[in-house]
C-alpha cells in the first residue's frame, strides 16, 4: 500500500470508446485487477468507469472527486478525463491526481470484508455490479467456473430471470434501489446452472447509488444437480442426503424463518408487545441452531464420503486469524470478551483450503466464546515448527480434564453439556478437516486452567 498522499505524480490510463482500459500505469492496473478486472479489459473500477462513460456521453472533459475501495483499503483520488479531439474513436485519457490510500476505518468497509468472509465460509459466491447493473466482479459459489470473462457485461446478459418473477420485476426493484430477495436466475451460457440471488443496493459516500452487491447460491432445484445424477434408479433419497438434497432444501426455509423472526424481534416493522418480541428472538435463535446443525450434518456427510478432498490454497494463518476473529467480533462483544489476535504485520504462510481453515478457526473461537466466562480474553497465536505452521486458540474457561481430551473430538460428544447451541459435531469435523489438509488438531488443557487448541498445517515457504 502507498502511504497517504505520497503519490506526487499523476496516475495515468487510457480508455477506448468501448470502455476498455487499453493503457494503465502500474498502480491503476493493480486497482483494476483488484476490482476483478483484467489487463486491457473493461475498466472495472465502478466510480472511474462511471466518470469515463459520462465524459464520453457528454463529450466533455470532467474533473471530479472519486473514491474507490478494495479489501480493507479506501482510495481517495481526484480524477480528470481528457477527450482526444483528434481521435475519431474519442478515446479518453484518464489522469488521476492526489491518489491516497488508507486502511478503511468506516464500519461499512469492515462489514463488507466480513460479508465476503461469511460468503466464503458458507460456500456462497458474490457479484458486484455498477449502477447500470454491469458486472464489476464475480465469484460463483464453490468451485464453479466463471467470473473473468463476465466483467463489464450486463447482469441480464449473463443470467436469465426465472419465473414466477421476471425481468420487469427485477428492473423495477433496481430502479427503486430496493433490496432484491430470492431472485432465481439461470446462466445463459456455460453450464446453465440455476442460482438464487440476494442483492443489496450500494450507496457511496456522496449518497449516490453505485450498484448492487449480490450474494449467489446454487439453487436446490437445479436440474443439473450432480446429486440427482448420482442416484440409483428407484431411490428417492441419494446417499448424498444432506449435502445435495436436504441441506439446501432446509437452509432456505430456515433462513427465511430466522430473517423474519429477527425482523419481528427487532420491531423493525412496528411496535410489538415485549414478550412477543422475546418469543421472536427465541425463534430466531432456535432457527440458527437448526441451521448450524444442518450445516454440520452436511459437512459430516461430505468428509465421510470416500472421495472427499480439500483444495491446496496458499493461505496465511495470521490473516485467517483476523478474518475469523472479525466474523465473531459481535458475538464476543456480546459477552464483553476480547479476542487477542497476532499483529497484522506478521505472516504465517501455510498450505490448506482457505474456506475449511476459516471454518475450523470459527469453530474453535466460537467454542472458546461459548465456554469461557464473560469478560475473559481469547488469545490467538501463530508459530512454525518442523515444517508445520501452527495456530493456537487459548481460552480462560473451565478447561478439559485429561481423560476427556480425546472424547471431545468424537462424533456427538458434548461432555454432558446441553442447551448451549452446540451439536457435538464441530470438533469432530474440524479434526477430520485438519487431517484432510495434512495437518492436525489437538488440545492441551487442565481443569480450571482454560484450554489451548492447536491447528497445524503444512508450512509454506514465502516466495
Amino acid at each position: 500500500m502507498t502511504e497517504r498522499g505520497d503519490l506526487a505524480e499523476p496516475v495515468r490510463g487510457r480508455i477506448d470508446a468501448n470502455g476498455l482500459l487499453v493503457e494503465a500505469d502500474a498502480i491503476l492496473l493493480r486497482l483494476q485487477l483488484n476490482c476483478g478486472g483484467q489487463e486491457s479489459g473493461p475498466l472495472a473500477v465502478p466510480q472511474l468507469a462511471d466518470l469515463c462513460r459520462l465524459s464520453q456521453r457528454l463529450g466533455m472533459n470532467l474533473s471530479r472527486p472519486v473514491q474507490a475501495a478494495y479489501d480493507d483499503y479506501t482510495i481517495d483520488m481526484w480524477a480528470e478525463t481528457r477527450i482526444d479531439l483528434d481521435d475519431e474513436n474519442r478515446a479518453i485519457r484518464l489522469v488521476i491526481k492526489d491518489w491516497s490510500e488508507y486502511p478503511t476505518a468506516a464500519m461499512d468497509r469492515v462489514e463488507d470484508a466480513r460479508e465476503r468472509d461469511f460468503d466464503q465460509l458458507k460456500g456462497r459466491g458474490s457479484i458486484r455490479t455498477d449502477s447500470a447493473l454491469r458486472v464489476v466482479s464475480m465469484r460463483l459459489p464453490g468451485a464453479l467456473p466463471g467470473g473473468e470473462s463476465e466483467i463489464g457485461q450486463a447482469l441480464l446478459d449473463i443470467f436469465d430471470v426465472i419465473p414466477p418473477s421476471g425481468h420487469s420485476k427485477l428492473l423495477e426493484a433496481v430502479a427503486e434501489r430496493q433490496p432484491i430477495r430470492g431472485q432465481r436466475v439461470r446462466q445463459k451460457h456455460q453450464d446453465q446452472y440455476l442460482f438464487h440471488l440476494e442483492g443489496q443496493p450500494l450507496i457511496d459516500n456522496l449518497g449516490h447509488f453505485s450498484g448492487y452487491r449480490f450474494m449467489v447460491e446454487r439453487d436446490d432445484q437445479d436440474v443439473d444437480n450432480p446429486a440427482l445424477e448420482e442416484m440409483e434408479p428407484g431411490k428417492l433419497i441419494s446417499q448424498n442426503l444432506f449435502g445435495s438434497q436436504l441441506g439446501p432444501a432446509l437452509r432456505q426455509p430456515l433462513g427465511k424463518i430466522i430473517a423474519n423472526a429477527e425482523t419481528i424481534g427487532s420491531k423493525l416493522e412496528g411496535p410489538l408487545r415485549g414478550d412477543y418480541a422475546s418469543y421472536a428472538k427465541d425463534i430466531a435463535s432456535a432457527g440458527r441452531h437448526l441451521l448450524d446443525l444442518v450445516n454440520d450434518l452436511s459437512d459430516l456427510e461430505a468428509i465421510q464420503r470416500p472421495g472427499f478432498s480439500v483444495a491446496e490454497d496458499d493461505i496465511d494463518l495470521v490473516d485467517l486469524a483476523h478474518r475469523s476473529a472479525g466474523l465473531l467480533a459481535v458475538k464476543a462483544a456480546d459477552h464483553q470478551m476480547r479476542i487477542d489476535v497476532p499483529d497484522k504485520e506478521l505472516e504465517q504462510p501455510a498450505q490448506g483450503e482457505f474456506r475449511r481453515t476459516l471454518q475450523i478457526l470459527v469453530n474453535l473461537i466460537g467454542n472458546a466464546i461459548r465456554y469461557s466466562p464473560d469478560g475473559s480474553v481469547i488469545k490467538i497465536r501463530t508459530t512454525e515448527k518442523d515444517g508445520q505452521a501452527a495456530i493456537t486458540v487459548s481460552d480462560q474457561g473451565d478447561g478439559i480434564a485429561v481423560e476427556d481430551q480425546d472424547r471431545i473430538f468424537e462424533k456427538f460428544e458434548r461432555l454432558g453439556r446441553s442447551g448451549d447451541g452446540g451439536s457435538g459435531l464441530g470438533l469432530f469435523i474440524s479434526r477430520r478437516l485438519a487431517n484432510a489438509m495434512g495437518g492436525s488438531l489437538t488440545v492441551a488443557s487442565s481443569p480450571g486452567q482454560g484450554a489451548t487448541f492447536t491447528l497445524t498445517l503444512p508450512a509454506r515457504d514465502l516466495d
Partner: protein, 345 residues
C-alpha cells in the same frame, strides 16, 4: 403617446396572445410560492443578467471555433462572437428550453453565491479573502499548493468583470451545460443559417474544449479534499478565514453534501438547514454563531442557547436524509405532500 410604433404593437400583441396562458401561472407562482426563500428583485435581475452573459459566452465560444475551423469571415458570426448580449436567449426562452429545473437551480445557486459574496465583503475586504488562499501557495504538499493556485486563477477569472454577474462556462455543471450548449447551437442555426452538420462539428469541438477542472467549484472541491485529508486541525472552516468558495467546499466535504446544497441552505429563512447541518457536524457554538453572523444579511442572530438546544441526534438524522440521492428526496417529499392532503386538487 405610445412607447412602441404600430408594427411593434402588432408584434407585441401577437407575442402576448401566445403567452396569455402563462399569465395565471406566473401570478400564482408569485402569490403562492412553494418555499419560504425570499427572492429579491436584485436576485431576479442578477439571475437574468447571469443567464444572458452565460448564453452569450456559449455563443461567442461556438462562433469563435466556427470562424477558426472554417477560416471564415462571416459577419454574423463575427458580430455574435463579439457581442456581450445573447442572441439566442429570446428564441430559447420562447421555445421553453430554459424552463428546466437544473438550469433554474444553477441560476439560483449563482445568484445566492453572489449575495453571500457581497455580504462577506461588508465584513472583510477582497484582499483579505484572497490572502487566505495565497497562504496555501507555500504549503509543504505540492498538491495543495497546486490546487490553491488553480482556485486563485479560477476566482480571478470570475472577478475580472465586476460590473456585472460574471459567467464562466466551466462553472456550469457538465450535465446542465451539455443541454444548454446544444440548445444554443440549435438557436444559432436559426440565426446564422449555418449548416447543421457544420454546426454539430463545431459544437462537439466546443464541448471537447471545456475543462471542468478549471471551474471554481471543482478547484475548491479539490483543495477542500486535500485540506480535509491532511488536516490534523480540529477547527471548523470559516467563511472569513477560508473565503466563501473554499468554506462551502470544505463544509460540503465534511457533510457529504454537494457545494450547491450548502449554498441553497444559506438562502433559507434564518439559514435553518445550515444551522442544523453545523449542529450535526458538532461545530462548536462559538464557531457556529460566528459563521452564521458572517453569512447572514444582518437580520437575524443565532444565539449559543438556540444552537445548543438543537438535538444533535435529530440533526444528524436530518443531515443523513439530505445526503440521499436528490431523486429519492424529491419523491419522498412529493409523496408526503400527497399524503398530508389526500383531497388536494
Amino acid at each position: 403617446m405610445l412607447k412602441y410604433g404600430q408594427r411593434d404593437m402588432v408584434q407585441r400583441a401577437g407575442d402576448a396572445a401566445a403567452a396569455e396562458a402563462g399569465i395565471a401561472s406566473d401570478f400564482a407562482a408569485l402569490l403562492f410560492p412553494k418555499s419560504d426563500v425570499r427572492i429579491s428583485d436584485r436576485m431576479l435581475s442578477n439571475g437574468r443578467q447571469y443567464l444572458n452573459v452565460l448564453l452569450a459566452e456559449i455563443e461567442s465560444h461556438i462562433c469563435r471555433i466556427a470562424l477558426k475551423l472554417n477560416e471564415s469571415e462571416n459577419e454574423i458570426l463575427i458580430a455574435i462572437e463579439q457581442d456581450r448580449d445573447s442572441q439566442t436567449l429570446p428564441i430559447l426562452d420562447k421555445a421553453g428550453l430554459l424552463k428546466k429545473a437544473d438550469i433554474a437551480e444553477h441560476l439560483f445557486v449563482q445568484v445566492q453565491a453572489a449575495e453571500l459574496a457581497a455580504r462577506l465583503l461588508h465584513k472583510t475586504s477582497q484582499d483579505q479573502l484572497e490572502a487566505t488562499l495565497t497562504k496555501y501557495l507555500d504549503h509543504d504538499k505540492p498538491a495543495v499548493a497546486n490546487a490553491a493556485m488553480g482556485l486563485l486563477v479560477a476566482q480571478s477569472r470570475s472577478l475580472a468583470n465586476n460590473s456585472q454577474m460574471a459567467a464562466d462556462i466551466s462553472d456550469v455543471p457538465a450535465e446542465t451545460l451539455f443541454s444548454l450548449v446544444w440548445a444554443v447551437s440549435a438557436g444559432l442555426s436559426q440565426i446564422t443559417g449555418m449548416r447543421e452538420k457544420e454546426l454539430r462539428i463545431v459544437t462537439e469541438r466546443m464541448l471537447g474544449e471545456i475543462d471542468e477542472s478549471t471551474s471554481i467549484t471543482r478547484c475548491s472541491q479539490r483543495l477542500a479534499q486535500l485540506l480535509e485529508r491532511d488536516s490534523d486541525d480540529d477547527s471548523f472552516p470559516h467563511p472569513i478565514a477560508d473565503g466563501l468558495t473554499l468554506f462551502v467546499a470544505r463544509m460540503a466535504h465534511k457533510a457529504a453534501l454537494g457545494p450547491d446544497q450548502i449554498i441553497k441552505f444559506t438562502a433559507q429563512p434564518e439559514m435553518a438547514q445550515l444551522v442544523v447541518a453545523m449542529r450535526a457536524l458538532d461545530v462548536s457554538s462559538h464557531d457556529a454563531v460566528s459563521i452564521f453572523a458572517a453569512l447572514d444579511n444582518g437580520d437575524n442572530i443565532l444565539t449559543p442557547a438556540t444552537y445548543n438546544g438543537i438535538d444533535r441526534d435529530k440533526a444528524a438524522a436530518l443531515l443523513s436524509d439530505w445526503s440521499a440521492p436528490v431523486a429519492f428526496q424529491r419523491a419522498k417529499r412529493l409523496m408526503s405532500e400527497e399524503n398530508s392532503d389526500p383531497f388536494a386538487g
